[in-house]
Subunit: 210 residues, 4 copies
């Protein structure tokens, strides 16, 4: 309830072809359609039918692949996170060896951009109904951020902080920066202030690359 009020017209009698796809492909199409719909209409207004329509499938098809709307959201979240993390792991470990801090800042920017692109999506995923549903540990951003901090601390480039707590705080700082940029524009200013915070908070005074 309480959804926004632009009405959507439903229609009957328009028939389209039957597209037979491999299950994997169909499932992926639905998830990607969901991404697009959630982004463009916002999580509050997104409906099952919008998703299937965007995916070029029939409404009923949805339930062949997802048992409920929540189920889809969980899938979408996993999809996004695992995509992000895969890319991140390609980037980060290699560079991290030589100059952790530089790699870290770069990664932060990646993350900010990633979240900013998410737009309203992150509400659906991080603050919506499934907020309480646990995330598979290997793809949890918490896990990955923690691991990143850990390597930083071990390399001496990062101050000695409580990793799990710091990971949460870091996460929210990045999120807020992304939100601010999304709302206000002025990317450079927000990034600079973020770096200012991160350096003061986490960087060891001497770069100390052992």
């Amino acid at each position: 309830m309480h959804r926004s009020t632009d009405s959507k017209q439903k229609k009957v009698g328009v028939k389209s072809k039957r597209r037979r796809l491999r299950p994997e492909a169909r499932r992926l199409e639905l998830v990607e359609a969901a991404l697009s719909v959630l982004r463009s209409q916002g999580p509050i207004n997104a409906r099952v039918e919008d998703v299937t329509e965007a995916a070029g499938a029939a409404k009923g098809t949805f339930y062949l692949y997802f048992s409920s709307w929540e189920d889809l959201l969980i899938e979408v979240r996993a999809h996004l996170l695992s995509k992000y993390i895969t890319e991140m792991q390609k980037r980060f470990p290699v560079e991290a060896l030589s100059d952790w801090w530089a790699a870290f800042e770069k990664e932060c920017v990646y993350f900010v951009d990633f979240v900013e692109e998410l737009g309203d999506l992150h509400k659906a995923i991080f603050h919506g109904q499934i907020a309480d549903h646990p995330i598979d540990s290997p793809i949890s951003s918490g896990t990955v951020v923690s691991w990143m901090l850990k390597t930083g601390i071990e390399s001496g480039a990062c101050r000695h902080v409580e990793i799990d707590v710091a990971a949460r705080l870091l996460f929210s700082v990045l999120h807020t920066t992304a939100d601010s940029i999304g709302q206000m524009g002025d990317r450079e200013r927000y990034l600079n202030s973020m770096f200012d915070l991160l350096r003061a908070w986490l960087r060891t005074s001497a770069p100390a690359v052992m």
Copy 2:
């Protein structure tokens, strides 16, 4: 849409008398009932009727005082913020004169506790449908946090940062701390990590952190 599926019992039989109140009193009861309902059921599942029922009023009464659900949320938010800010302004300015940093840290703890008590409420209010609705400037926490930082910078106890950006970041750090405590308990540990961040980030170097 997509609300969670716990069924709700319709109260049966117990009808009490008509209670005639003066408008402000009834309005207040409704707002307070809304607070309670939002807290206990979460914003997704809260319905108009839940609120009126909790307030001991009939469904239609709701619409004598609020033109829609959103209207209520806005009212609830204003209610909470103005309550918080009133109290804060009683506390802060006095102490701030002598030892700004101590007052600041104390205020941060107040804020964290305030948010933590909010529980699910803060989702309804800060991440829900009315997230985009502007807050009356005088009661906006952004305004107040900014003002707090400004006094800190002027008094020399706080580093020279971009106030508006820092206010956003500070806000989210406090929020995250509150959320973490709410989820994980272990208040001291999270507060300590928060202080660690705040000191490293905002404190002028005078009293070394070590």
Copy 3:
């Protein structure tokens, strides 16, 4: 239901003076307020509260004078008709003696103007819920139109027609003319066509004033 969708805001807590009136006066104010409201908002959108508001009375006051909305409509209809008929009886009988046809045409124009001014009101009154409710015979327009025709026939100025049937037809011709003018403007053209019909239909070929 199915009313038009402009929402009306209700308000609480605005208090006004208590006006004590003689019952007759209050009742009349309400009826006249109803006339005004029905005219301006149309019968579909008119609400009890609109009427009392327009009359400067409280909502509950309505039910001191009318037992229901229908009751009001009946009253409004009686009010209008009796007002019209009173005026008509002042006009018609006097003139009718000397030149019935001229008086008749004049009266037709009066009637058309009267109905046209009614606007949407006549829907509420002649085609709405109370359409089936009998009208007090002495103020029924049918009665009066019949009587008018009767005098015309007796005076020889009007063709010999079945009075009750002709009265219905005449009534609808006048109504339609009024509606057309209301919709299309161009009063003269519609009146002329109406006269053309009436003359061909009802006038005796020789004026035959016996």
Copy 4:
């Protein structure tokens, strides 16, 4: 609002199977159910649910085919008019060649019968909320009546009148006759008076009425 107060029984228990129809079939069933409901309950008391129930469909089904109650009424009107006009065009043109006036009178009777059968329906359709909604020109009765008059004038069987105005008046005369018959019975008497009017008004003086 202000609907009449007869309570309605909610049908209980008897639930039949899901009937899957092709869209046009279901749409037709709904329109016909609407016709029946409007006839029997009158436009004021008809509800969406009455229609779906009469059509043996679920409430929600209504909104698959009509976006609102008004939308349905427009459809119903179009349905009726186009049905009538189709039949009329089969009848009229053929006969009109030889004896326009006879054909015209016959058509008038058809129309009166048509309207009389409509009963309360014509309130819903000609005096209700959609009264102002334009009718598709090809099925507008005004259009057709005008065209009928035009052929009459051209054939010399009908007096030279202002076609558009006369069409309106004719229309209302037919309507009133139908209404009268519906209320009072005595069909012959009302038809005769109507013919009397029409002949005096529209017929060229050839065959004297006597």
